[in-house]
């Protein structure tokens, strides 16, 4: 089996520079120092009275922090992936190879999320320190890790699709960060706002329903729910996955149009201008 050539090329390109190991090392050191201080705060220099609930708080805080960091880092790697190829004028050649548009998109998604996946995986031993003090079980850590990886792939896919649709990297970056902002802040705020409304008027059940829906679209809330830190429906992550799968499918259509307008030639809708503008 062959690895997607774009993934192999970009991972190779990215990992041979000093920047990638430096980013990973600095990030890891930051997480280690933070974890150490938080755990030290928990034990206060003594090991007779360890509070597992505080250890749980450390775990929740660390994972939420990591989720925020990776969510905002992902567009930096993926928002210019296809538009960058277009701007460098390498996309035309790529599209005359037998590599399909799906292959191009998949390669871009995997290559732009690869470093972030690595960042998340290398912090796993740091999380494991929490086990020493109780409060978290391995299944919880694995669930959090899995959800973080899922979020990275979701954000990377959305950003790559935006970079295919928008002809310029500037616009795709704006759309990508806008989307991450919606996911991380706006949906959370909407969920919180509607829940507050419900608490004031418990009769308005629809506000509770919509509050839960918006919370389910917020990665921080879903992650906290997976750790049992907040109350939520049992399969909240499933709502998250379904919603963003629909978003990705919707964005996929104009993306494919940009890459292979010929595929849509049988429809009465034809792209305006020359195909070369998109390629």
């Amino acid at each position: 089996m062959r690895i997607n050539p774009l993934l192999a090329k970009e991972f190779h390109q990215r990992m041979r520079t000093a920047r990638a190991p430096i980013v990973i090392t600095v990030y890891l050191l930051g997480m280690v120092v933070l974890t150490f201080f938080m755990l030290y705060e928990n034990v206060q220099g003594q090991l007779y009275l360890v509070q597992p609930s505080k250890s749980q708080q450390v775990f929740v805080l660390l994972s939420l922090l990591q989720m925020t960091v990776v969510a905002f880092l992902t567009p930096a790697f993926s928002a210019g992936s296809v538009s960058g190829e277009r701007e460098r004028r390498t996309l035309t050649v790529l599209l005359t190879t037998p590599l399909s548009p799906f292959g191009v998109l998949l390669g871009k998604v995997l290559s732009s999320s690869a470093l972030l996946v690595l960042l998340v995986v290398v912090t796993l031993p740091v999380y494991s320190l929490v086990f020493l003090f109780g409060g978290a079980v391995p299944q919880e850590v694995l669930a959090v890790l899995g959800f973080q990886l899922l979020t990275i792939v979701v954000i990377a896919t959305i950003c790559v699709l935006f970079s295919t649709i928008a002809l310029r990297s500037t616009w795709s970056t704006v759309f990508s960060y806008g989307t991450v902002g919606m996911m991380m802040v706006v949906f959370g705020a909407l969920g919180y706002g509607l829940k507050t409304l419900y608490q004031q008027n418990p009769i308005e059940l629809f506000t509770l329903h919509w509050s839960q829906f918006f919370y389910a679209l917020n990665p921080l809330y879903v992650e906290a729910a997976l750790q049992g830190a907040v109350s939520a429906k049992p399969a909240i992550w499933l709502t998250f996955t379904e919603f963003y799968a629909v978003v990705i499918l919707i964005l996929l259509i104009p993306s494919l149009w940009r890459l292979r307008p010929q595929w849509f030639a049988r429809l009465s809708v034809r792209p305006s201008g020359s195909e070369k503008q998109y390629q």
């Binding site: 062959r2 050539p5 192999a8 090329k9 190779h12 390109q13 460098r88 004028r89 390498t90 035309t92 050649v93 790529l94 599209l95 005359t96 190879t97 037998p98 590599l99 307008p261 010929q262 030639a265 201008g273 020359s274 195909e275 070369k276 390629q279």
Partner: protein, 310 residues
Amino acid sequence: MILTQNLCKKYGRMVAINEMNLSISTGTVFGLVGENGAGKTTALSMLSTLSMPTSGYAYINGYEVSRDPRSVRQSIGYMPDSFGVYDELTVMEYLRFFADCYRVDRRIVKRRAEELLERVNLTEKRHTYVNALSRGMQQRLEIARCLMHDPAVLILDEPASGLDPKSRLEMRGVLQNLRDMGKTILISSHILNELAEVADEVGILRKGSLVVIAAIQVMLQHSSAYRTIWIQGFAPHGVMKRLLSQDQHVLEVCEQPDGWEVLYAGTLAQQAELLQRLVQGGVVVSQFREQPTDIEQLFLRLSAVQEGTW
């Protein structure tokens, strides 16, 4: 090997390619010549599956470009007129990446890359980063890239554009080398002379229509058999035109504000006789000289003279 039947491309009301009929047999190097905006790039982008014909058909290696684009892509090596490169790869990695895109057998990739680098004179640069190569070298690397999957057809859109004279010469050498490989090659250029040494046949594209197709040898013979003469002199009204039109070797007379441009098909001795007759006819000749012949212009003029449309 390359066949087009009434191939058309329209952008709204604008006709970019109008009923192009072309047949290029295996192993032929075909030059597509036309000024900027004539439709060369549009024609090549349809043949390389980047854009879809509005009507008509195009076949590459037996595969129709609209119906079987995947097989067409596997059969062609396409070099666009303006292209970018992956700067952060070395020359060897660059070729290997494209070999992977074409699923070339890994066991032969290194050997083929070495062979092609030798062919395009880049062997010494195989471990150099692509961004450290000059424009001319990058263009030769692109040709090597086009050949990595050993395609039957090469489509090169202005491969020598933007190059300095030295790099143009090197590129011409590479193109002659490709010709020896027996590939079917379609090259576009806006300068016919550039293709004279590499192409077997040439087609002239004008405002989206293929106006002339001829063997390059025929074109070159025409360029030596016909010449443009510039005559400047003083003569009573109508005398010059009468004397010139009496000469059976004069194909065309074009009166300019300060002289006459004559398309002439005679020998040098006959040309001297023409001068003599003009002087004897009372024309005070101040200039009588042969102008450098642009083969493309000449050919277009001859076709127009034949059709009576010039």
